[in-house]
Symmetry: C2
Subunit: 334 residues, 2 copies
């Protein structure tokens, strides 16, 4: 790189024959500056390749225009969808996103501290590992301007939660299964510790029980990973009673659903959906692939990010909970 010498507002001011502050005004919307000087300054700035230093601006204004996106894992492609929406929409509104890899639950404190050191306007926690207990004990969390829990309902004090209305979602799934004539669901949930925070198994059973009197069995998978789900299902399917006990597998997310489908088809030689139906959650890209054609529930990620932007732009820090409605995407797995 050749011209690394940073060019400041001072330089532009000198070249345009105005003061440094006038240059700042030219770049500030709704600033009191005459049309003529603004145009002149902007033109000079363009020639010189000047852009305001957001770093210094943040320091002065105590507003970094930075949000931290803290992820607990990067295995689920759904994270990529979230990241895409998040970065794109947030950028459109003038923020930049710093992505922090917490590297597991133990790293949460460190991640939060790192966010604070960068003066982020908000830290967004994305991942089931970040449960309310962890958040309520993390003192770092108290020191952030805003703490948002994304894609999971959080009742933690001082925390802002933006998520899909899972209660409604699970009710819709229960209804769809019922409409398809299935009566023997098996709920395949994630790791017991993490899955609890999502409450999907619980919500599904609440809805299912209200319709059919008795709950569905729940089996936990050791990790949100297809191969783990694959082996887990093989392990329990026969023990539960095989086809006599299960005619549809409801999964906490698509990753598990993919593993379940592979297990049913390749491991047990069954047909989906003829023998056993499968329903997922998230609608990852792969769910639409002809090999899977998974019926799943799509979270309203874009709306959720819009909600985040609103919270970013609002001055106050309301300890709020926003639940948005997604939609069931019916394909051929049920």
């Amino acid at each position: 790189m050749l011209e690394t010498d940073t060019i400041t507002a001072e330089d532009v001011a000198a070249a345009a024959g105005v003061s440094r502050w006038t240059v700042a005004r030219a770049f500030k919307k709704d600033a009191s500056i005459s049309r003529k000087t603004r145009d002149k300054v902007l033109a000079v700035a363009r020639d010189l390749g000047y852009v305001p230093d957001l770093h210094a601006a943040g320091l002065a204004a105590d507003r970094s225009n930075l949000v931290a996106l803290i992820f607990d894992d990067f295995d689920n492609p759904h994270k990529l969808v979230i990241l895409e929406r998040m970065t794109r929409i947030v950028q459109q509104h003038g923020w930049a996103a710093i992505t922090i890899n917490s590297g597991g639950p133990d790293g949460a404190t460190e991640a939060l501290q790192s966010a604070r050191q960068r003066r982020v306007d908000a830290a967004v926690m994305i991942g089931t590992e970040f449960d309310d207990e962890l958040l309520s004990t993390a003192t770092e969390a108290r020191r952030l301007k805003k703490l948002v829990v994304f894609a999971r309902e959080s009742l933690c004090k001082g925390t802002i939660s933006i998520h899909c209305d899972d209660e409604r979602a699970m009710a819709e799934i229960a209804e769809h299964i019922t409409a398809c004539g299935r009566r023997r669901p098996l709920f395949l949930a994630g790791p017991e510790t993490q899955s609890a925070g999502l409450r999907r198994a619980e919500l599904f059973n609440a809805s299912w029980t209200s319709r059919h009197g008795s709950p569905s069995p729940i089996v936990h998978v050791g990790a949100y990973a297809s191969d783990t789900a694959y082996h887990r299902l093989l392990e329990v399917f026969g023990a539960l009673g095989g086809l006599n006990a299960v005619d549809v597998v409801v999964c906490e997310n698509d990753i598990i659903a993919i593993g379940a489908m592979d297990a049913l088809r390749h491991g047990l030689g069954l047909h989906v959906p003829q023998d056993v139906g499968v329903v997922g959650f998230d609608d990852i890209t792969l769910a639409a692939a002809p090999s899977y054609a998974l019926t799943t529930y799509r979270q309203p990620i874009s709306s959720m990010v819009e909600a985040l932007v609103e919270i970013l732009e609002s001055g106050e820090t309301p300890a709020s909970v926003t639940a948005l409605e997604g939609r069931l995407v019916v394909r051929s797995s049920l």
Copy 2:
């Protein structure tokens, strides 16, 4: 959040009975400070919950400890692998990563400018849309401290390129195919404009021709997307001569390979690898799924990121090219 009042080095200094600069020294490795005062300061800092403000530090030292990761798309799960390694390893060395969504090639300039505004120590471009022509015409690129092109060879002046040794990779693939007895490869490449930068088709054919005399046909897919690849292969397979003309499909990446496998199996009713073999590139998680069991080539992402860290830590800005060796992962698709 309750205690939003930022606590500065000044506060710690007062509480510890030293000057602000001594506090700074306590946090600086290899600083000239006595063991005793450092321990005292650090203890006070911990009690008060003080951590140095990296924002202000960056402003003062002209070093933000920030790198920008600029992505052109978020559809390929391989990006997630890169992101995970990138954030994790870079964090371990004291940097934080800001993720920028360029939203297509037109957004590259804007993304670069955004990176500059944040005073990043380096901007890393990840994606085939960022070709050398674009980079050489982008004046913003000249103003960054370091510009790194990741996972693609770049010969652009002033640019640092870190990538997998594709020449060797394609030679290994050609050798494997040959060893498996296949003699009629079809190369399924990405969009013509983007694929050119990767040069994989070209490199494969160089190797193939040297072994068997004549090159493999090359078919371009309109997008790096499975369904696009699916339809494209269906479209051209018969026209090329079907099984008489093709006994293995070599794909520019796994996403295309997945689409190709689906097309061969579900679209054409063929068997993989019995009728036609498939080889991919990247080794995404899905490649290991039993439904695909894709033979593919794994790029040495971790080593590549380590190389990036080395470049970050080295003061100079060598316009360098680093090509690292990956490895072929043989599964059952060939």
